[in-house]
């Protein structure tokens, strides 16, 4: 596969709830090995877009292509099997099960026990705190630790495309840096990312490519640098946050 080929293509997607369209004719693509960010005001359709890509929500029009193959009709678990991973905004884990059980469930589709052990070791190496707390219930973890568990849960399937919905939510600025540090290093190891974020400044500082949405439509796409340079856009997406 060429290094600049698209791992994900969203083509002309229209989707919504109960007849009202939240997304309208939306297009987006994620190049293999890059970190692509999606920004936009509340109600722009960012989370809905992710739900359509992961398969929780069927679009009324358009296609989702993974490696050039349409997955639009597949349920989420089959997209996971094809190399997608997803971390929801809040509580994307199982609080009443232990850290280790959470990781085991993350590897639900991985039948090879040796592969599971390898990946669990990689998770514990990256997040020693999870190793320390492996027998504790996930519900007892702090917000930052829970986020790390979710990243670990995701690593268990060794996904090629990780989809994150506001990974910074509820975390201190310091922890946001820690989480994005891990995301960046996983990306450098070849994992592609699609990230929705309210923390626009943080996302612009780490992402390779940015899509800006407004009212469920494409408003802008380009590099973070170009977006910051464009006075009007910078004011629209960055201005309010000073």
């Amino acid at each position: 596969m060429a290094p600049d080929s698209a791992i994900l293509d969203v083509q002309g997607v229209t989707a919504g709830y109960g007849g009202s369209a939240v997304l309208q004719d939306l297009g987006l693509s994620v190049r293999s090995g890059t970190m692509t960010g999606v920004i936009g005001p509340n109600g722009a359709g960012k989370s809905t877009l992710l739900k359509v890509i992961v398969g929780y929500l069927r679009p009324s029009q358009g296609e989702i292509l993974l490696d050039g193959v349409a997955v639009t009709g597949l349920p989420p678990e089959q997209r996971i099997a094809k190399g997608i991973a997803y971390i929801a905004q809040t509580r994307s884990h199982f609080p009443s099960q232990t850290v280790q059980e959470n990781l085991r469930l993350g590897a639900y589709l991985v039948k090879d026990a040796r592969l599971r052990a390898e990946r669990q070791n990689a998770v514990f190496e990256r997040f020693p705190i999870l190793h320390e707390r492996r027998r504790q219930l996930a519900g007892q973890l702090s917000g930052g630790e829970a986020r790390m568990l979710e990243v670990g849960r995701m690593m268990m399937t060794a996904p090629r495309l990780a989809i994150l919905d506001e990974p910074s939510v509820g975390l201190s600025p310091k922890l946001v840096d820690v989480v994005y540090g891990h995301v960046r290093s996983l990306c450098d190891q070849g994992m592609s990312f699609l990230i929705v974020e309210q923390n626009v400044r943080k996302l612009l500082s780490v992402a390779d490519f940015i899509y800006a949405l407004e009212g469920g439509r494409n408003r802008y796409d380009g590099t973070p640098h170009d977006l910051s340079e464009d006075g009007r856009l910078a004011e629209l997406y960055l201005g309010a946050r000073g």
């Binding site: 929780y56 509580r91 994307s92 199982f94 099960q97 639900y108």
Partner: protein, 302 residues
């Protein structure tokens, strides 16, 4: 004279409490199945008692067919009711699923309709007569002074507890069991882990139904079966779940015994025939005093 009547009274209490324990295990098992289905699928399964009815009548059909071993009847009941549960989940509940969740109200209304249809189907096929399987789980009784306990009542208790323990071990220690709990806790995250919520729903409803079916076949050697028997057991199951706490496994077991004992003791003070109101009354008291149930977790945190 006074002392003797006091002792008499105490012995009566112990006697009735022991009888209550015999039925309590069964109530706990029913509550556990209802709790499992609600906890994982968010379906308030009003037809849970009818799964017991179907299990009981499977045993009766086996008896009519010449199979006298109640144990063979239990195995047959589990198989038949598992299949029926699967078909209900697949063809009636699955179509109500939107974004990996079954619509709660529609699920409940559907199961209410289903309970009426199933009870009347049984009535149409088998008639209104009280029926019973020919065999017994065990002959004889255990006699402890005035306390006489039929051996088969004891077997029903033990079998109920064994089934409940097997279910708990399955949910706690197997990967599939953990996946079932994961879907109950967080269906989106379960799907993001590659778990098929659809398959887990089918499995959960089949297991919950199978447990009720097993209970039905288990009790027919000791009590009579009749087409409307399910409603009473649905009420018991609901009482157990509310008293013990929605979603609480130990709560269901504990509430099962509590309900069995209080119901049995009520015979001392209440006119006969009134014992069926004990469950609903206990349920109401629980809702007033401790709405989340005795061992339940307060809503909001869950």
């Amino acid at each position: 004279m006074h002392g003797a009547s006091g002792v008499r009274m105490l012995l009566d209490l112990v006697y009735f409490a022991a009888l209550g324990v015999m039925t309590g295990g069964l109530y706990g098992l029913l509550g556990l199945g209802l709790n499992l289905i609600f906890g994982v699928m968010r379906v308030i399964n009003v037809s849970h008692g009818e799964m017991l009815t179907l299990g009981a009548y499977t045993a009766i059909v086996m008896g009519l067919g010449g199979v006298t071993s109640p144990w063979a009847a239990i195995v047959a009941a589990v198989m038949v009711v598992t299949l029926i549960g699967f078909l209900i989940a697949r063809y009636l509940l699955q179509p109500l699923t939107v974004e990996s969740r079954i619509d709660e109200q529609r699920g409940m209304v559907l199961s209410l309709g289903l309970s009426l249809v199933l009870a009347n189907l049984v009535l149409a096929v088998f008639g209104p007569e009280y029926q019973r399987v020919p065999g017994k789980l065990a002959e004889g009784s255990i006699v402890l002074g005035d306390l006489i306990i039929e051996k088969q009542r004891l077997i029903i208790l033990i079998a109920s507890l064994v089934l409940a323990a097997a279910l708990m071990a399955f949910l706690r220690f197997t990967l599939t069991g953990k996946a079932i709990r994961a879907v109950g806790e967080n269906p989106e995250a379960a799907q993001a882990s590659g778990i098929s919520v659809r398959k887990i729903h089918l499995l959960t409803f089949s297991i919950g139904s199978a447990l009720a079916g097993a209970a039905g076949a288990l009790i027919t050697p000791a009590t009579y079966a009749f087409p409307a028997m399910g409603l009473n057991y649905t009420l018991y199951a609901f009482s157990v779940v509310i008293i013990g706490g929605l979603g609480s496994v130990w709560g269901a077991i504990f509430a099962g015994f509590l309900l069995g004992i209080v119901e049995s003791l009520s015979v001392i003070w209440l006119p006969s025939g009134y014992n069926t109101i004990v469950g609903p009354v206990l349920m109401l008291f629980t809702l007033i005093i401790r709405p989340q149930g005795l061992l339940g977790v307060k809503p909001g945190r869950a």
